[in-house]
Amino acid sequence: MIKEVHKYETRYNDLPFKFEGGTPNIADVIGFAAAIDYLTDLGMDRVREHEIELTKYAIDRISGVKGVTLYGPRNTKDRGGVVSFNIGDIHPHDLATIMNDHGVAIRSGHHCAQVLMERLDVAATSRASFYIYNTKEEIDTFIGALEEARRLFKI
């Protein structure tokens, strides 16, 4: 933020204000409060319960797909609503492309954790994640897409 602007000269505000934008991020602060109200109304216990139920169902179903490697603890109490995995020699970016064709969005790549990828000795991983608006039927669709990928790559 500035103090004065002239045609050939600018004077910046004192520290720390010189490094701040002119308008604070007011809209996002209000949005954040609305998000907190929304989740509080639902109840965070119920949010977590739904997340655990979906994650458990997903882990059970994915484990039944031939060629799948799952990462992370099996106990859903010890993990969040995400499931990282690989299948055969399908690179996660290829898998994401195939899943996308079936209307399933997954994350693929290093997940900003290249050192962990080296430790796991994989090029990358695929990751499915769940939230309050996801359903078991959607996990079934996800499994169907995974089977399709397996068929395409002959695994």
């Binding site: 690179h91 996660p92 970016h93 290829d94 492309t97 790549g109 290093h110 090029a123 790559f153 002959k154």
Partner: protein, 142 residues
């Protein structure tokens, strides 16, 4: 759409890459990667007069990037540098049979061409600065 991409020939080059490995006494070796997806390609070139005498690649990444690299090495093996110099994005997409690749995956298919062009920039830098500059500019568009 996936059925069009992951055809037999792409999977074959992915699982059985041609010209993969190191090249002892290469005239040029060059490495590049796509930071967004982590695909990596190294290309090694042995040049004889005005021809590519031998080419090998090493790499890690998705089926499209690795199959495209494998197919590119077959395409330019033994070819005159002048023809390789002018290879375009469309030549590569036609070569691998993926002319309708979407924006998210096109970089995968073109990484090996970019690395090859950068390798030729290195080769030409002392010998033919004008060609080196053109190749360098070309590589930026990939």
């Amino acid at each position: 759409m996936s059925d069009d991409i992951y055809r037999e020939i792409i999977l074959d080059h992915y699982r059985n890459p041609r010209n993969k490995g190191k090249l002892p006494e290469a005239d040029v070796s060059i490495h590049d990667s796509n930071p967004l997806c982590g695909d990596e390609i190294d290309i090694h070139l042995k040049v004889d007069g005005d021809k590519i005498k031998d080419i090998k690649f090493e790499g890690r990444g998705c089926a499209i990037s690795q199959a495209s690299a494998s197919m590119l090495t077959e395409m330019v093996q033994g070819k005159p540098l002048t023809s390789v110099k002018d290879l375009s994005k469309d030549d590569i997409l036609e070569n691998i049979g993926l002319v309708n690749l979407g924006p998210a995956r096109i970089k995968c298919a073109l990484l090996s061409l970019k690395v090859l062009k950068l390798g030729m920039v290195k080769y030409y830098s002392d010998r033919d600065p004008a060609s080196a500059k053109k190749l360098h500019d070309d590589s930026k568009g990939l």
